[in-house]
Symmetry: C2
Subunit: 248 residues, 2 copies
């Protein structure tokens, strides 16, 4: 009984109460959806949840007494279990026919609950979307008690998703490509310390293209954003690249 | 009786009906605010409306049967009278205490209308903000029938504004500086045809800094985004710079 948008409300209310009167606690017609991006095995991945036969992005609603930004962080924390995660606003998805009808019907069947056609949940929703860059190794997604599943999917091999969520993920992918040309946030996808070859490989993966390695390293180091760490004792033979860490 | 957010609804409903039951026609808790930016006399300017003793951004609400994007365009068109205006999403302003109370009280006094404390208008509003780049010369802002005023204000000399609107304008100013480093949309602030010295001066104004003129021109022309126009007959003496136009 712990699904997607609903997972986070059990501390507050019963699920029937949520379906019936949730708009007393949350802003109506407004949802938050998160594209949680990880990086593993030289591939970009996205964290998705399964409801019925399709998948969807982790998301939720904005409590009436919390800011939109806090809501996004709360939902991310509930899902990924991380504090201080890199989170960036992506886009508004606000088409006039954007509603959850087919998804909610599936959900109601799964949960054996009655879904009134006048429920606030069946109304139109404008989605505020964010993307998060997380260290795949440190993420422990939260699962629910019942038939919920989660999974990491390769950006290039996404499953069928509910509503416009495929479009949202694709928008995040394109935005990430744009953003890394002038922001330096991609290292959030790596461990806290990383080598320049690792960062280089990450950029190549995001851009889907080759990048000249020595020019890349020179450019990254010239930003002054990365601190070189002291050399570890080398007990193994061969040359080892320096480790770096992003400055605060 | 034609104020800011309210101006655009007279074709649909009476103002008392709007205050009382507007959320039957518009999404509740969600507003749109526009930072309409013009350029004149080597200064960046912002179009503001006056209500009572303070000013505010042109804005409105999203009709239940229109997309968020269409709502922003509709509001911009109503205000500035222009089609196909350059409009870009800016940011979400979603703090939990964001409501219009003091503004609405002033508005109700001006309009001699009763404002129920339970009106949807007195509730919290999340604002979706956009910035528009317009040709100052072609803009004819729409005024209302009563005590509304509008004015263009220098970005560096803004008046006191309602709510968080000063912050929104400042956010737009900073975003514009970031955006022109990697987007090529600033020419929307000029006439349809312009010279490279004019474009150069505009960039210097936005950045608040000097830019090497020949390097700037070289960079702009190398983008291939600007089409050089045929030379006009020169009836006046002296060398004239070429005119350019942005390609579609």
């Amino acid at each position: 009984m712990a699904h997607c948008h609903v997972l986070f409300y059990f501390c507050i209310m019963d699920i029937s109460e949520f379906v019936k009167n949730g708009d007393q606690y949350f802003l109506p017609n407004l949802s938050i959806d998160l594209v949680i991006i990880g990086y593993s095995d030289a591939k970009l991945k996205c964290l998705l949840l399964k409801i019925g036969k399709k998948w969807l992005l982790p998301g939720g609603y904005v409590q009436r007494n919390e800011s939109v930004e806090d809501a996004a962080q709360r939902i991310l924390k509930s899902r990924a279990g991380l504090e201080d995660t890199f989170l960036k606003f992506l886009a508004v998805f606000g088409s006039e026919d954007r509603q959850f009808k087919s998804f909610l019907e599936q959900f109601a069947i799964n949960e054996h609950i009655h879904l009134d056609q006048k429920s606030w949940l069946t109304d139109r929703f404008v989605s505020l979307t964010y993307y998060a860059l997380v260290n795949y190794e440190e993420i422990f997604p939260t699962t629910g008690d019942f038939d919920e599943a989660f999974g990491w999917f390769d950006f290039k091999n996404l499953p069928e998703m509910w509503m416009d969520h495929n479009t949202i993920v694709n928008t995040a992918r394109i935005q990430l490509i744009t953003d890394i040309q002038h922001e330096y946030h991609a290292h959030n996808l790596l461990s806290e310390s990383f080598t320049m070859p690792e960062l280089h490989k990450l950029y190549e993966t995001i851009l889907g293209d080759r990048i000249d390695r020595s020019r890349f390293q020179k450019k990254m180091l010239s930003t002054g954003l990365y601190k070189r760490l002291p050399k570890l004792n080398k007990n193994t033979p061969g040359r080892k690249p320096y480790q770096y860490r992003a400055k605060k």
